[in-house]
């Protein structure tokens, strides 16, 4: 009798854990379904090539916002990739040192800082002193968000490189810098690129740190010192406005954003799987 109860309980829990996976996948499907159906109906060529239409006029697009998003993300990447990769090299090369532990701790802390707080920080150091919202400040905010992601991936991937490679280079008389940058880093490069791609996908969808750094702009701008429109901030502005037409545009923007993010994630995923298979084969 008691065993029947135990078995029954066990089966129930197993089923419940399966159900919880389904519960989590329902909102995913639900969100994607709405983004695709609502987005498709509002998406057309004009959306990619035209500027935002004035209030009340139908049509228009988000050409400037998409360009702005690209630009701000690129600035972030330019800032974060070199610093992130090199500090990752430090953390893996001198892994036992106390400073490396501190850097690792700082990266994990930074990863947990809310994006809105990073926005406030960048506002204080890059907007307030110049009394000017700017694309540069927005890029800087995204770079700060990207930095810990890149540093940690680089470090982990470098630790996976077999030490015989490094030892071989050192035995041939290479300096440490040479061994690292011509032998160890290239061996881990495909993985690092994948990590960078994932980090890009993540920061491309950020809104909060841009609200008061790169701000927004109704017009085309490629001036680093001027405020610039971005896809995410534009979606936010349109979503909370009372105009039907703007809501449609917001959905179209969301579709573009989600497509970019998901394609990046998928590509990174496939690349990772392939790399793992290669490593296992080797």
């Amino acid at each position: 009798m008691r065993d029947t109860w135990r078995l029954w309980l066990s089966h129930t829990i197993v089923v419940l854990s399966g159900v919880s996976v389904v519960i989590a996948l329902v909102p995913l499907a639900f969100v994607l379904f709405y983004v695709v159906t609502q987005g498709i109906s509002a998406l057309n060529l004009n959306f990619f090539t035209h500027m935002p239409a004035p209030v009340g006029e139908p049509g228009g697009g988000m050409a400037n916002a998409m360009f702005g998003s690209l630009m701000v993300t690129a600035i972030g990447a330019l800032f974060a990739i070199p610093i992130g990769v090199v500090s990752g090299v430090y953390a893996s090369e001198y892994r036992g040192s106390r400073f490396a532990a501190a850097v690792r701790f700082a990266a994990d802390t930074l990863n947990g800082v809310p994006s809105i707080v990073i926005g406030v920080f960048i506002y204080g150091i890059a907007v307030l002193p110049f009394r000017q919202f700017s694309a540069l400040a927005g890029g800087l905010a995204l770079g700060v968000m990207m930095l810990p992601l890149i540093m940690r991936t680089t470090e982990e991937l470098l630790l996976l490189v077999p030490s015989s490679l490094r030892e071989g280079a050192l035995a041939l008389g290479a300096t440490r810098a040479r061994a690292v940058f011509t032998v160890v880093v290239p061996a881990a490069l495909p993985g690092i690129m994948t990590g960078i791609l994932l980090a890009l996908a993540r920061i491309a969808g950020e809104t909060a740190p841009l609200l008061f750094t790169s701000f927004n702009n109704r017009f085309w701008s490629h001036d680093l010192r001027q405020p610039i429109a971005t896809l995410t901030v534009q979606i936010f502005t349109y979503a909370i406005a009372p105009y039907q037409d703007w809501h449609r545009q917001a959905w179209a923007g969301a579709l573009v954003l989600v497509t970019v993010v998901l394609v990046c994630s998928l590509v990174a995923r496939i690349a990772t799987a392939r790399l793992e298979r290669l490593q296992r084969g080797a």
Partner: protein, 319 residues
């Protein structure tokens, strides 16, 4: 000609200094965030002191700032999100690490982690136009006898605490579940085999594993809590942005992150801006404490098996 050996030594030193300088940037940024927020908020700290966190009036026109409703909104929404998301996230972790057949695991993990890849603003947009109307329907149809419970009082607006908590829990699930799965992986197989050998059912063996991993699981839940505290866009769009302290799930409320997002660019005078930065400072300190504690818990759990490896949540969850 210099001695080649000497050359190597000094080159190595320069290599260490050069790469170390880059690494220092990370430390400086974290310290810089704290210093900068403190510097920008000193006006408000000096003017209001502790009063800032003990009063409820938020009136920029007469320069009266009390931030208690925002703290309440942040903690209440995050706690609710945790209550909803924790059982689901643990269920996912158990299913994908203990129960599902091998071929199913990777695709399922990928799908659940896609939840973390969807940008916050997209959740917000979906929340405003899809979730909020659904929640409003639910609120309108709440039976009268339920209204005796203080949770279900208030006007059926749709926007409010319930919508915010639901959306937050969806966003937190992938973080908690991916760390919990990592932690479960570190439970030695012998533990489970021992349980089975003693005649345990499947659930009893899983319960064993969960108990063995309890420190790390608590860490995973706290990490999710830290995420929920700082979540901005989606919450801002559905919580109703009305500073008030109430346990009602239907009432529109306000969070710390949301008030910064909404009012920062409108803050024209110094004291207003300073008050907003002070809210940011406290949010920073709160997430810092939660994150450090949760990392410590996860670290004590995972260190034995993978030395020097703390689950990198952000990236893995985005994968």
């Amino acid at each position: 000609m210099t001695n080649p050996r000497q050359r190597t030594c000094s080159d190595d030193l320069w290599f260490r200094i050069g790469t170390g300088a880059c690494a220092l940037a990370l430390v400086l940024i974290v310290v810089g965030i704290g210093v900068e927020l403190l510097r920008q908020s000193h006006l408000s700290i000096a003017r209001f002191g502790w009063q800032f966190w003990q009063t409820d009036t938020w009136d920029p026109v007469s320069a009266e700032f009390g931030a208690r409703p925002f703290i309440w909104g942040t903690l209440y929404s995050s706690a609710l999100a945790l209550i909803i998301s924790t059982p689901i996230a643990l269920g996912i972790a158990v299913f994908t690490s203990e129960i599902a057949p091998e071929w199913m695991r990777r695709p399922l993990v990928f799908l659940t982690e896609l939840l973390a890849a969807i940008p916050s603003i997209v959740y917000g947009l979906w929340g405003v136009f899809v979730l909020v109307p659904l929640v409003r329907q639910f609120e309108v149809n709440t039976p009268a006898w339920l209204k005796w419970v203080p949770l279900f009082t208030g006007p059926p607006l749709g926007v409010g605490m319930l919508s915010a908590a639901l959306i937050l829990s969806i966003m937190v699930i992938p973080f908690t579940s991916s760390v919990a799965r990592e932690v479960l992986k570190t439970v030695p197989q012998a533990q489970r085999e021992g349980a089975y050998a003693l005649g345990a059912t499947r659930w009893e063996a899983i319960r064993m594993a969960l108990f063995y991993a309890r420190t790390g699981i608590v860490g995973a839940i706290m990490l999710g809590f830290g995420r929920a505290l700082g979540e901005t866009m989606a919450v801002t769009m559905v919580i109703g942005n009305n500073p008030q302290i109430t346990t009602s799930l239907f009432a529109p409320q306000y969070t710390m992150a949301a008030v910064i997002a909404n009012e920062f660019t409108e803050a024209t005078d110094d004291i207003y801006l300073s008050a907003l930065v002070e809210i940011g400072l406290v949010l920073f300190v709160m997430t810092l404490i939660i994150n450090v504690l949760s990392r410590l818990l996860i670290w004590t759990m995972t260190r034995s098996k993978h030395p020097k490896r703390i689950p990198r949540v952000g990236l893995r969850a985005a994968a």
